[in-house]
Amino acid sequence: MKKHLKRISCLFFLGTALLSSGGCATTQERLLDSETNQLQLRSIQSRAFETTDQVKTLRTVMLTLQDLGFIVTSGEAGLGSVTGSKWNRGLMIITVSVRPRGESQMLVRANCQLDKQLVNDPVPYQMFFSALSKAMFLEAHEVE
């Protein structure tokens, strides 16, 4: 029993030591999410639509978020952004920004977080842009 306890304690202290040594570096880095590839992330999160109507695009984004079960918690036409949240195995928060790109396009960027973690898997974003594309009756173009 004593031996068993000693082993559990050892494992526990080893675990905490590992977590704390790694934690010092990584928890601070999360401020700027330095470990993620910014260009790749931007490409995953963005699509261009052939329209110049920013307000209409934002309105369609809000309706799409409602379709996906989000409650829109804030929206600002001046800055061109909308934020929504829903509960899906964890708190999911999404911010979508819409801004002009060139003379004939709108760049839509979605930034999603699930339970304290940035979503950087491309597939959920593909699903979001597919839903938005249907609502806008426009094709979503990938951007570099």
């Binding site: 306890l5 829109v72 999911m92 999603c112 699930l114």
Partner: protein, 178 residues
């Protein structure tokens, strides 16, 4: 000694739980077969091109229902409101107290709930011109220890019916300028 083992086990459990973070799946942002049904339940079309009037009437309904307006953006046709209400259910409190006494721990039960409403208006330039209103509800239930323990979308056909009945009435009142 037993206590030490229990503490270690608890700590290990906490660490394991911290490591278990939900992973995003395609379903998180995918349209479901229920989307169309929900959209119909949550939306009503009013035969007016005056979107500002619909938003003003909606804002009055939110206030009638005790919501405080957290966010409004006329250019996007958006209204967001919330209210804090009690979530105490005497039966739940009794059960949780009995369980807590048996487990020699503190009882945890639903104490208050933050209820949120999001309303989005969309003008349509069809013939006749109209404005559609889509409304969604959500609530977060907090425990007596202040932790969010339930986060859910609310809304039954009856809730939407009642809300839109009130909105129709409010629009009529706005029209009459009473």
């Amino acid at each position: 000694m037993e206590r030490r083992v229990a503490i270690i086990a608890c700590m290990m459990g906490l660490i394991a739980q911290a490591a278990c973070v939900p992973k995003p799946t395609p379903e998180d942002l995918r349209l479901t077969p229920e989307t169309q049904v929900n959209r119909q339940l949550q939306t009503r079309v009013f035969e007016t091109s005056d979107e500002a009037k619909v938003l003003a009437a909606s804002s009055a309904v939110l206030q009638d229902l005790g919501f405080l307006i957290d966010e409004s953006e006329q250019q996007l046709g958006l209204l967001v409101g919330s209210k804090m209400r009690s979530a105490i259910n005497p039966a739940e409190v009794t059960v949780m107290y009995i369980l807590a006494i048996m487990a020699r721990s503190d009882p945890v039960y639903s104490e208050r709930q933050l209820m949120r409403i999001c309303l989005v208006t969309t003008p349509s330039m069809g013939e006749p011109p109209s404005t559609s209103v889509r409304v969604t509800f959500q609530r977060i239930v907090y425990s007596n220890q202040g932790l969010g323990i339930k986060f859910e979308t609310l809304g039954t056909p009856e809730i939407y019916e009642e809300f839109f009945a009130r909105l129709s009435k409010s629009l009529f009142l706005e029209g009459k300028e009473l």
